[in-house]
């Protein structure tokens, strides 16, 4: 799966999509592939404030339980409730229906520390 060019990426394999003051957060196709089948997503609490690169929530696959780190600082304003019943969406549509949370952006400067799709492609190629 291609890494969409309109997203920004973190070294921890999360992506964000900016929609005005709100950022949609999810995990990349590379991340879901490494995690294998996801069986549970512990969604963050609405109203929770997270710092950039801090623990946002937890996903559980058949293999392991992994932390999801927030690519930016901000307040959680919405979560993808559908994942409670259908965690497999993270595997099937990592960049779409498998989004995890929406964050209110605190500081747009955080975005500068993230990678473009091109940089992220290079980053994961180096890992293989």
């Amino acid at each position: 799966m291609e890494n969409p060019i309109d997203l920004k990426y973190s070294k921890d394999h999360e992506w964000i999509k900016i929609e005005e003051d709100v950022a949609i957060v999810g995990i990349t196709d590379y991340a879901q592939d490494k995690l294998t089948d996801i069986v549970f997503v512990e969604l963050p609490q609405i109203g929770k404030y997270v710092e950039q690169y801090e623990n946002l929530c937890v996903v559980e696959s058949v293999k392991s339980v992994s932390d999801i780190f927030s690519p930016i600082s901000g307040k959680v304003v919405e979560v993808n409730k559908v994942l409670e019943e259908s965690p497999e969406l993270v595997n099937k549509e990592p960049f779409g229906g498998g989004w995890i949370a929406k964050l209110q952006i605190r500081d747009k400067a955080d975005l500068e520390k993230l990678m473009t799709s091109e940089e992220y492609n290079e980053f994961i190629t180096g890992k293989e």
Binding site: D37, V39, E60, V62, K63, S64, S66
Partner: protein, 468 residues
């Protein structure tokens, strides 16, 4: 295999419950007659449980190389001692001096083995020991008038480590592993400051590697006023060779159900005694047993953390193990555990990827990165079952993709080790030539490959009668 409820036949019950002949005042509305308890004859019941136990696999059945768990054989002498009628006593009875002597002497032995100053046998498991140790850390800092907020934990740690420190109100801070498999000293130095209460370290770590820099690590932490906690899950290869106190450890736990051969797993009772240096003795859980076999308490203690004095039956078995093999035997345990692991590692590294190719301690970690045809660690583990071995620990430690963590322990013969090695090599051949077979394994078990994903996503945890 059918469940008891599915085998049940009304009226075939082997005994009957008498009509209630005492007066109760349970209101009619709260009484039930629809419990639907299974009814089976005695012989059917016995067969059910016997067949269930035959489907089980334990260290008494065969080789059980579950890394990081030290699934060692439990010598039968331990059971003989635990069954002595003299020990069939209640902790509140008056004639328990003998039991107190066992606790007192066991603590002394554990002190001698680890170099720690004092032990408490109360904690009931490794994670319970971690919590106890972290509480001691907190009590000590309070007494010094310091409020420190974080505990440093390596990325190769057992998952219980960050859980235990979080439960105690600290924030875990991860420190990276270096390219040689130990702690990255630069990263540690960077993360060390006066808000760090201490480090929780496993040495040898979960890669089976004894950290060459351990003296430097504990020095860095001490220099900042922090304490060094050792997760003693991997004590087996150090018995009689290295004392954790000598490499700068202030608090540690031991897993008696690993290193000291008491039963492990199945949710049964365990024991995770906590040892400390002299300066921290006053914080150990109350009460403790002194040399006159009396109970003593300290004001600074973190308090009681288990009813009475821990799981005494388990303490007794560990005591029996230590006395039966003695100091020379304990050292031999460590030597053989290390020898067995290194023998297997050297044989297997020609066929499997070994990230840290160096002398290991009691266990080592290989992975599936060289496997052809998308064969994964999970497939390998399932296939191992077909050859009457228990699979190793898989997908842990998390820092190695597709990890297989193999811990043979000291009691296995060379023939057993060779048989396992041959099986592992055969599986590599199958991966090349018949990968589809590996994807479907196991074949020689009552049930074949389970659908892990469905089991986790659509878990069904209770039995429902088909009639309801």
């Amino acid at each position: 295999m059918k469940l008891l409820n599915e085998k049940s036949k009304m009226g075939s019950g082997s005994f009957h419950i008498r009509e209630l002949d005492i007066k109760t005042n349970i209101p009619k509305g709260l009484q039930r007659n629809d419990l639907n308890l299974p009814e089976l004859s005695e012989v059917e019941t016995v067969r059910h449980y016997t067949n269930l136990s035959r489907s089980n696999f334990g260290v008494d059945n065969g080789f059980y190389p579950l890394g990081s768990c030290t699934m060692k054989y439990n010598p039968r002498i331990n059971e003989v001692v635990a069954k002595l009628p003299e020990f069939n006593i209640h902790p509140l009875s008056k004639n328990h001096k003998g039991a107190l002597q066992i606790i007192y002497e066991l603590e002394k032995y554990l002190c001698e083995i680890t170099g720690m100053h004092a032990f408490s046998t109360q904690p009931a498991a490794g994670a319970h020991g971690e919590l106890t140790g972290t509480m001691i850390m907190k009590a000590y800092l309070r007494k010094r008038g310091e409020e420190r907020t974080t505990v440093i934990i390596p990325d190769s740690a057992h998952g219980t480590n960050p859980s235990s420190v979080s439960l105690c109100g600290f924030r875990p801070v991860q420190v990276k592993s270096s390219t040689s498999g130990g702690i990255d000293l630069d990263d540690l130095r960077q993360k060390m400051n006066t808000s760090v209460a201490g480090i929780m370290i496993t040495n040898p770590n979960t890669l089976g590697i004894f950290d060459d820099n351990i003296l430097e690590i504990t020095k860095i932490v001490h220099a900042c006023g922090g304490l060094c906690y050792l997760d003693g899950a991997n004590m087996n290869p150090m018995l009689g060779i290295v004392k954790p106190a000598d490499f700068g450890i202030d608090i540690m736990h031991l897993n008696l159900h690993k290193t000291f051969s008491t039963p492990h797993g199945g949710g049964g009772p365990g024991a995770g005694p906590v040892g400390v240096i002299k300066e921290l003795e006053m914080f150990l859980p109350n009460p403790r047993v002194n040399e006159k076999l009396e109970f003593v308490q300290t004001e600074e203690s973190i308090g009681r953390i288990h009813s009475f004095y821990g799981n005494f039956g388990i303490l007794l078995r560990a005591y029996s193990y230590i006395r039966a093999i003695g100091p020379v035997g304990l050292r031999k345990v460590a030597e053989n555990a290390v020898l067995n692991a290194n023998y297997m590692k050297e044989k297997l590294k020609k066929h499997y990827h070994l990230r840290y190719d160096r002398i290991c301690q009691h266990e080592f970690v290989i992975d599936d990165s060289l496997m052809p045809n998308n064969v994964t660690t999970n497939d390998i583990a399932k296939r191992i079952i077909d050859f009457d071995f228990h699979p190793p620990t898989i997908y842990f430690p998390l820092i190695i993709q597709g990890a297989m963590m193999i811990e043979p322990t000291e009691t296995e013969t060379k023939e057993n080790l060779d048989a396992f090695i041959e099986t592992m090599i055969r599986i590599v051949d199958e991966a090349k030539n018949e990968p589809q077979k590996l994807k479907k394994a196991p074949f020689n078990t009552p049930i074949g490959r389970l659908d892990l994903v469905r089991a986790a996503r659509k878990s069904q945890l209770t039995w429902c009668s088909p009639e309801t």
